[in-house]
Symmetry: C2
Subunit: 189 residues, 2 copies
Amino acid sequence: MKKSLGAKTLLFPTPVLMVGTYDQNGKPNLMNAAWGGICCSQPPCVAVSLRKATYSYNCIVERKAFTVGIACERKMAEADYCGIYSGREGDKFAATRLTPVRSSLVDAPYAEEFPVVLECRLLHTLEIGLHTQFVGEILDVKGDESVIGEDGLLNILKIQPLIFDTSRKGYHSVGPCVGQAFSIGKELK
Amino acid sequence: MKKSLGAKTLLFPTPVLMVGTYDQNGKPNLMNAAWGGICCSQPPCVAVSLRKATYSYNCIVERKAFTVGIACERKMAEADYCGIYSGREGDKFAATRLTPVRSSLVDAPYAEEFPVVLECRLLHTLEIGLHTQFVGEILDVKGDESVIGEDGLLNILKIQPLIFDTSRKGYHSVGPCVGQAFSIGKELK
């Protein structure tokens, strides 16, 4: 028997996405967004939802591009900073001492210190309510050599991505692999 | 210096969402979707992306409703089963011995055994490419008493939600809390 908790944005897990943009003056900005996820395999797309009030909102509308960095445990304070303060108040890259890198593919920057980044061009804009959803086509994923395994694949345990707990507002680490997808379910057949 | 990995759907973490629907005959179905996430705070909304080829696709289009259960470690094989086999091949609730419960709020079922469920009415449909994104307004979140803490909040460590690794296709557990959001970033100010 389940207990009603109300109409709330509770989902487990949610990611900690570092959305990188340029403003109208070319100042790089970085925000922390937990409302997002992959939304299409072909073309590969990622969705992020932002409030119109955010500094990043107009940047995406104007430049039609953004990057999505994967926040990691090693840079947790920096990631959190980008979720507390607005780009209106100053240069978040300077404040956090993160290094802005201009994407060679889209008109947006990313922070070198986050181990994985998705470079996206704006494909769709969906007005939902308080949040506007931006769907970006992923033109490339770039990863640090240090988080790529011997198999040539990104290694989630090396990335150490942050998980946002929508209930208690904590950041969690990723635990060990507990099973292989598209495999363990066959036992029930 | 980052290495290019190509235009791929790599994001960390992604969730394991159990999408519950009724087909035209009222048969309950459950699929496993990693492409999704919260997409708006007000109204509270969750997005899930499905291929048109899935059995669940028409169910959502026709009933304009779905549920989103949070897959957990305890029911990992059952969750994986729902991602391997199609509802066309049979009754996945029967095969996995999961218990279908009719939502009292929307025209869709959920599995009692997953500890948290979001009951959603279809709000938007966005055609992206191979996947169609369904945005559902969350009318209620229900949780098992066993995963609600003494503070009355859902406890992520009791839920034990699965994390899907988009790179190596493994399921991972959630690790410990490593920091408090909207707090630790203030240290950098």
